[in-house]
Structure formats: C-alpha cells, structure tokens
C-alpha cells in the first residue's frame, strides 16, 4: 500500500506542475500585457522592440477556428512598411504576380506573401534584410538573365544581392541607365547639393501665418519658475512663427508640464509619423512605452540606458536646437565605432567648419545629413510636393544602397559612393580614408555600352 502511494506521488506532482504551467501560460496568452514568454524564437532586429505585442503582426482571421501557419497577413506588414516600399518604387510588389502567367514563378517562391521570405523568430535561418530563405532565391526566376547577359556569365546564383548590385525591393539606384548616366563622376562632385530645412515655411504656407510672439502665454508661476525656458523659446523659430507656450503645453486646465508627442504632431505631422516608423519611435506606434537605449541591440552608452525617447530627447525642450539634434544628440546615446569615429572624420570637419561660421550653411555633414535627410515628397493623388526631414532614421539604412541617391550622391560620384558603402571597415571608421572594396557594376555598364556602340555601327554600315 505504501509502495503504491509512493509510486503515485510523482504523477500527482507532475500533474500539478503541468496544470500550474498551463494555467500560467493561459494567463500570459489571454491577460498578460507582455507576452514575450510565448515567443517561439528570437525576434529579428527590426521587430524585437515590439515583440510583446503579438497581435500587431499576427492579425489574420483564423480559418476553421485555427490560425494559418503564421497568422501574419500582408496587411499587417504593410501597416508599417507600405510607405517605404512606395518610396522605393518596389521592384517586386504583389501586384506584379497576380496575373496567372506568373504561376511558373510562384511555384518556386510565393512572392505574393511577405512571410514567404520574411518569416520571424527563426534566428538560425535569418540572413541580412531579415530574409529567411536561401540567398539564391533570385535565380529561381532570373536564371534566364544569367544565361543571356554576357556580363553576368558565370556569376554565382547567390551573388545578385551579396555583390551589392541588386535588391529585391529597392533598386532605385541600381538600374542600368542610372549607372550609365553617372559613369564618369569624380569621388567628390565640384558642386555639392545643399538642402536646408524648410519645415517652418511648409507650416506657414499651409495657412498658419501668425505675427511673431514676444510675450509667453504660460501661467505666471511656470514663467517665474523657469525663466531660462522662456529665454530659450524666445530665440526659436517657434516664437518667430507665433507659436506660443500654450500651443504645445495646452491652455488653462489642459496645461501639461511635459507635452506628449501628440502635441508636436499637431504641426509636425509628417515628422512624427516618420518618427513612429523608425527604431526610435516604433514602440509608440503600437501603444507601448517609449523606446529606451537599454532596449537597443546596438551598443549604447550605459548612463543613457533608461532615458525615454521622444521628440525632445534629440531636439531638447524650448530651445529646439537643430544643430544639437543633428549630431550631438545622436552621440549622447550611440556608442558604436561608426558613431565614435565621427569626430575624427572628414564629414565632421565640414560640419565643424559650418558650425564655426567658416563654411556656408548646408556644407557641413552631420549624422542627420545622412541618416535624417531632407526629402521632397509628392502626394500621388494631389501631386502636391512637400519638403520634409525624414525622421525615420532607419528608412535609408538597409540596404545602404538606399543612401546613394538621397544622400551620398549629393556630394559624391556614384562609383566612389558604391565602393564606399560596400566597404564595412570604411563605414566603421566613419569614412576616414578611401574605399578598398570595388563594386563591378559600373565596369559592366561600360562594357555593355561599348558593345551597343559596336552594334549601332554595324547596323549603320549595313544600311
């Protein structure tokens, strides 16, 4: 009898532990806000900040009471990535694969679903750009190009992307006629293009013109307790454009000592929308607490670990110093080689000269010059153009070919740009030197042009 009872004990213990565990996991699944304990694997760098909000990605309706293999719809991906793909003139949008004649391609890769190539939580299978299929995927549909293009003869099936020549989505700077147009450019262009911020003009031209504010309209006790804030404000474009204390802090009982990002968004709509798409603001976009450097996977300065990120983290409150926001603000948190080598770089020398009045406005190169560039965007429906500072600092980071047109080529020739951005060591030392990597695309275009010219001459002579 005692033996029987003893043999039963482990079963009761096992059953109890199982029930407790099942109950706990059920509570996590249905009730706990942070669901990271349910993650099936390590989340990619792009999504790890929002991994506790499973529902943001796993939004699909269940089929027959069950979710599909991943439960992630294209719609969920496009909620965040649609604008990037549109700006990049996506080379492989879903729309290209709907015609039944594409069935031969879809047999190999179901390119109509984002998750075919970008599955999540699969760290051991995740390549750069969060691609989770083998890197020879281009060859399934484009091997015919490898067969017919003499310049591409003998290239490896997995080299399309890895050689720095092609991307699946963004090829804005990699098509042949573009390369041809920029074949013979020097490393540094004689007339660099300068872009100056025009946010305040955009705001005024939208019908918001007001006389400058000289008297702050904050409650008297707030003014008395922080005269330095008033002095800072009085020196800004805000005061010059008639934006007073109450426009940000609220009026009367609605006064807030620390206005939220929504207050900035009242006027800086595009900027705050972009901010919420990047690593700095993506948590706010899905109603999570603000990002803190401690959450980052890049090296950050420990003393800043628990600072919350919002507009004032970089711009500061009241003074809204654009020069500080353009470089020093980044360096207060980021602690990687690229950032730490900035102050010894030729770009910094130009930036320093501009700050010290030794070079014209717009000639300096700060962190923001490259990572938060000025852009001209066109509304596809109205055709209206707007000038805006891209506040999603991730928008042009990956693949870094996105920087060619909008950033590097404002000052540098294409060949130098391609080689520099392909040189990881040069990036790490913040472009202090010359590229030691060479991308062959331009050589191939030269070769093709010579062949075309020969063909033209042959036709002319036969006529």
């Amino acid at each position: 009898m005692s033996l029987f009872a003893a043999s039963k004990r482990p079963i009761w213990i096992w059953a109890g532990v199982t029930l407790l565990l099942a109950g706990y996991l059920t509570w996590v699944f249905f009730a706990k806000e942070d669901k990271r304990e349910l993650l099936p694997g390590i989340t990619t760098d792009g999504h790890h900040q929002i991994e506790q909000r499973c529902d943001v990605c796993h939004d699909s309706e269940p089929v027959d009471g069950l979710f599909t293999s991943s439960g992630v719809s294209n719609k969920a991906c496009m909620e965040c990535h649609k604008q990037d793909l549109e700006l990049a003139n996506d080379s492989h949008p879903v729309i290209k694969f709907r015609n039944p004649e594409n069935a031969i391609f879809l047999e190999h890769i179901k390119a109509t679903d984002c998750v075919t190539c970008h599955a999540e939580h699969l760290e051991d299978r995740t390549h750069p750009m969060a691609v989770t299929i083998p890197p020879d995927y281009c060859a399934h549909c484009h091997d015919v190009t490898l067969e017919h293009r003499e310049t591409h003869e003998g290239l490896a099936f997995n080299s399309c992307e890895t050689a720095g020549c092609h991307n699946f989505h963004d090829n804005l700077s990699l098509f042949e006629s573009f390369l041809s147009e920029h074949l013979a450019e020097p490393a540094v262009l004689p007339e660099p293009k300068r872009e100056l911020s025009k946010a305040v003009y955009r705001w005024i031209s939208a019908g918001n013109e007001r006389p400058p504010s000289t008297t702050p309209d904050a409650p008297a006790d707030r003014i008395a307790s922080a005269p330095e804030h008033v002095a800072d404000w009085a020196s800004t474009a805000h005061a010059a454009a008639g934006v007073n204390c109450s426009d940000c802090h609220g009026k009367g009982a609605a006064w807030q000592d620390k206005p939220a990002i929504e207050s900035c968004a009242t006027c800086h709509t595009l900027e705050t929308q972009d901010f919420r798409k990047g690593k700095h603001g993506m948590r706010l976009a899905v109603d999570l607490s603000p990002m803190e450097p401690s959450m980052a996977r890049l090296p950050m300065k420990p003393e800043m670990a628990h600072e919350s990120l919002d507009c004032t983290s970089c711009h500061g409150a009241h003074r809204f110093d654009r020069e500080y926001a353009a470089a020093e603000a980044c360096m207060q948190c980021h602690d990687d080689d690229h950032t730490n080598n900035f102050s010894a770089s030729p770009h910094f020398a130009l930036w320093n000269a501009e700050l010290n009045g030794k070079a014209p406005a717009g000639t300096g190169v700060s962190c923001a010059t490259c990572h938060l560039p000025r852009e001209t965007r066109t509304d596809s429906t109205s055709g209206t153009k707007v000038e805006v500072v891209q506040h999603n600092q991730n928008a042009n980071l990956h693949p870094n070919e996105k920087m060619y047109r909008g950033v590097c080529m404002n000052c540098h020739g294409l060949g130098f740009t391609m080689d520099s951005l392909a040189d990881r060591k040069l990036i790490e030392n913040n472009f202090n030197g010359k590229p030691e990597v060479h991308v062959e695309s331009l050589d191939w275009v030269r070769e093709v042009e010579e062949r075309r010219e020969a063909h033209r001459k042959k036709i002319e002579s036969s006529n």
């Binding site: 709907r98 015609n99 069935a103 391609f105 484009h142 015919v144 006629s177 036709i459």
Partner: protein
C-alpha cells in the same frame, strides 16, 4: 381560393425556372461560355482587345510620339526616376496590373503583352506552349488573331492572342536600340508584328 393562388404560384415558379434554365443553357451551350456572362469568352476577349488596342494607340501616338517629336518630354524606361512618361508597353503593363488588383471582377480576366523577342528575358519564362503557338501564328499570318484554351494550376482558361503591331516610333526605336536585345532580334519597322496581346478568361 388558396389552392388557386398556390397553383398560380407553382406555375410562375416553374416558368421562371424554365426561363432561367433555358437562358443559362443558351449562354453555356457554347463550351467556351464564361460563367454567368451573356457573351462567349471569345466575344468578351475580342471586345477587351478593342478597348486595349484603342487606348494603347492613343497613348503611343497622341501622347508619347507627339510630345517627344515636339520636344516637350521624352519617355524613358525608368520613367519614375527620370520624372518622365512611361513607355507605351509599360503603360499597358501597369494597366494590366491595376486590373489584376481589382477584387471581385464580374469576369476575372487578365491580360499581358508578350513577344517572342522579349527585352525582359523573364517574360519568355511566362510564355506557355499555347502563348508561344499564338505569337508565332500572329507572325506567320501577319496579324491574325489566335484562340485556344489552356490550364494553369487547376484553372482552365480561354486564351485570345492578338497581334501587337509597331504603331509608334517609340516602340520600334526602343526595341531596336535596347541594351537587352540579342543579336538575332529583328530590326522592327512600322507595321511589323512585334508581339501579341494575351487575354485570358477563366472558364468552367
């Protein structure tokens, strides 16, 4: 009285059923009839082709060729990056993609532009045996239409292939001077069959 109403009701229901069945049978008596349509797939494809051909001709002749010859704007294959007009073939393809995006079409047709001398090599991979036969037929007959059927996946399609002739200089100039053309490609001139418009309509 109730019986009389019931009998009238049954008679009306039978009449409606007979008429409806007759209508469906009539429209489906042709094995190529599209589900629910009042036209045969060939009639539908022919009609679509008239619209596509007309729009394409107007765009190529009255917009692209005219504005280029007047020095106003030159179309370019990379039209977005170069802030200019789409080439006529690209306009056609973009329209086809927009059609593919429309959900719940009364007849879920699709169309594309194909050629036996594709500048985009990948297009040759999309060409089924029926499409290749139809494109060759257009060339051999100097522009006759071709009709057939094929199955892709589990879906059977009626397929109409119509000649795509060189109507605007922009078409043959671009093809003759394109970096992707192979040495054995023909030098196109006005009126040549350069390829075909492929229209597919699901049947059965």
């Amino acid at each position: 009285m109730k019986n009389k109403i019931a009998k009238i009701g049954i008679a009306l229901a039978l009449a409606v059923a007979v008429v409806t069945t007759g209508s469906v049978l009539t429209s489906c008596s042709d094995s190529q009839a599209a589900a629910g349509a009042q036209f045969t797939p060939q009639q539908l494809a022919d009609s679509l082709y008239i619209v596509l051909k007309s729009d394409r001709k107007v765009y190529a002749r009255d917009i692209v060729t005219r504005l280029k010859s007047e020095g106003v704007i030159t179309p370019h294959e990379e039209w977005q990056a170069n802030k200019t007009l789409l080439l006529p073939a690209q306009m056609f393809r973009r329209g086809a993609e927009e059609v593919d995006l429309v959900p719940d079409k009364p007849v879920p047709f699709s169309y594309s532009l194909q050629s036996l001398w594709p500048l985009n090599y990948e297009n040759s991979m999309k060409q089924t045996p029926v499409v290749k036969e139809g494109l060759q037929h257009s060339i051999d007959t100097d522009g006759e239409n071709f009709y057939g059927e094929e199955t892709i996946g589990d879906q059977k399609y009626f397929i109409g292939i119509y000649p795509d002739k060189a109507v605007a200089a922009a078409c043959w100039e671009c093809h003759n001077d394109h970096e992707n053309r192979k040495d054995d490609y023909p030098e196109f001139k006005q009126g040549d069959v350069m390829g075909g418009v492929v229209i597919r309509i699901p049947v059965d």
